[in-house]
Point group: C2
């Protein structure tokens, strides 16, 4: 069992959920609220985790939607009050994990989520939040070690709160929980992890430790994602991809770049984040080469691409190998969508840390190329 | 300015001490106790830091000895009580930084340092300690991000307390403070950092993020240590070596190995830690090759050693290039010393995480080879 301690206390290995009761006790909780979704419940994973929580009996909310929303948040805060909850256990992918952060925030701070948005400066007011244990079931968004929380408010707006205090106190990374993740989901969430590694490693922020972790994420995901997709029962591959996703999440403090700057507005239109990042990465790699050629050389080496395939072409062939689309058009994006998307990408905070400056014109060209 | 946030909040760049007053305020301190040594005061560094602390006026203790001892600790606790101190600022190398941890511990927990030793299980009782800001002036032990504290008690025994709660809350890494570090000190502390990177990267603990950081430490120290030694005013080299030392410290959670297992008892005899590690590393690298040949290959690549020089020989030539001795005999160790040292090394907790198991007989052979 690996014990990794940076901001979070991370137990990592098959059987990690066995630490759940101990960690609930260590955090001094009596009545945790466990948030998850119906799919996790249906897959039998919830049952296994509730078993591991004994003698504690978390209150369960399994109504988390694909993107966490204010209705769920309000429902959970009602439960929190009614049941006297004192901490959150998040079980699932990015959605329950983000919902957990929002619950931990409002249960401790009061107010509404909109009060804490990063764009209005509200995030700066976030202090210590209620205790959280994150149990990821995909590999993955890295949200289990992330400090950002994206919520869709009742009026439909997406609001992001960002503060280190929202990072989960404890993380249980149990690759066992990902063995049943279907190939398509494995591929899309795996590319999300790879994208974090690639973009963080070349971003403009100076953070060598995060950069080193990002590069390790890249080499790990490159080696093991195809295996995890084609052989879902391969325990080694699931372990490695969960580690890659964790590392991608740990690298996020080094910020990201143009691929995510474009994926964000596209994500608001409903397309899957990881899939989008995969499509956009090769274009961004080519765009960035003049700025960070050396760093991209190193990523090329780490990817195992070999002498006869450039990094961007390697990404294309990886997408093909794992069954993901390589064009935005394949998802249903049309040329008419692009100008508005380009403007939003240029305004996205992640654009500012792309190694090569990019304006709306650059983004329009990139998006057209990816169409 | 790089802001790196894992367990600690680390400001890293020339001018980082400019953040001191802000961070004192952020931690809610009114009356910090600043611990340092006479050398730091004489070098004018203390004055610069006190200036940066304004409007706060820390109480200053500059009597820290080369290895922190209980007499200093008791003196500081007296000052703490008399002055109503509420936090510690550590300014210097490993000694003031460790002293700071001990002060933060006893000021909050009471008792005596011996109550908290790791060998007797006392370290497990350590909870949240008083706030600490660490300002390293060497590159370095990595103690500014470490969770261990070594104190020499009044009866002469060395006792180690280990707990994550003792990690400094805030670190100000200002390479400016190392510009005047003499070549010999630069070399010896730089090899300490390199040794952390090499040993952590191949230790048996599973901790890929720490391993990635360890490897980055190795490539950074390999490239920049000779420059920092020969051209102490080279700001870039000082920045890079401070980063390598920070990374070496961050990697410590992955544990170390045989070189440190031997350096520890040798250190009790008074020899400089970094110098010892340098002498022992080539022997340990050779010893470990059968166990972690692949990982050592990677370190060979990161060292820039080239095709015609093995990693162990490269370390030897580095020591020679930077003016450090390559044998224990050159320090004054004799053959009669070795059997007792070998027994202690075999019993050292760091021996257990060496990638190839080593017993007293192995250590005797290693020490003889290094004599």
């Amino acid at each position: 069992m690996a014990l990794i301690q940076y901001l979070s206390r991370i137990h990592f290995d098959f059987g990690a959920i066995g630490e759940l009761a101990t960690e609930v006790g260590r955090l001094g909780l009596q009545r945790p609220l466990l948030v998850t979704d119906a799919g996790i419940a249906a897959a039998g994973i919830l049952e296994r985790v509730l078993d591991a929580a004994k003698p504690y009996a978390p209150v369960v909310y399994d109504g988390t939607s694909e993107n966490p929303n204010e209705a769920s948040l309000d429902a959970c805060l009602e439960i929190w009050k009614a049941e006297g909850c004192d901490g959150v256990i998040a079980l699932g992918g990015g959605s329950p994990i983000d919902l957990s952060k929002a619950i931990a925030l409002l249960a401790s701070h009061g107010g509404t989520f909109a009060d804490y948005g990063v764009k209005t400066g509200g995030s700066e007011r976030i202090g210590k939040v209620a205790p959280q244990i994150a149990i990821p079931t995909a590999a993955g968004t890295g949200a289990e070690v992330g400090r950002a929380c994206v919520m869709t408010l009742n009026d439909g707006r997406k609001t992001v709160a960002v503060n280190l205090n929202m990072v989960a106190d404890v993380v249980l990374c149990d690759p066992e929980l990902t063995l049943s993740l279907p190939p398509r989901m494995t591929a899309a969430t795996g590319v999300d992890a790879l994208g974090h590694g690639i973009e963080a490693s070349v971003s403009t922020y100076v953070n060598p430790p995060a950069g080193a972790i990002a590069r390790d994420c890249v080499s790990r995901a490159a080696r093991w994602l195809p295996v995890a997709v084609h052989d879902g029962n391969n325990g080694e591959a699931r372990w490695q991809m969960m580690m890659a996703a964790l590392e991608g999440g740990m690298a996020l403090q080094k910020s990201l770049g143009a691929a995510h700057a474009m994926a964000n507005p596209l994500g608001e239109a409903g397309y899957h984040h990881g899939t989008l990042v995969g499509i956009l990465l090769p274009h961004v790699v080519r765009f960035n080469t003049e700025a960070v050629g050396d760093a991209l050389e190193d990523l090329h080496r780490l990817s195992g691409a070999g002498a006869h395939q450039t990094l961007d072409r390697w990404i294309d062939s990886l997408l093909s190998e794992i069954g993901l689309p390589a064009t935005l058009g394949a998802l249903g994006v049309t040329a008419e969508d692009l100008p508005a998307l380009a403007d939003k990408a240029a305004a996205d905070h992640l654009s500012a840390t792309n190694p090569r400056p990019a304006d709306a014109e650059d983004y329009l060209a990139l998006l057209k190329g990816a169409l």
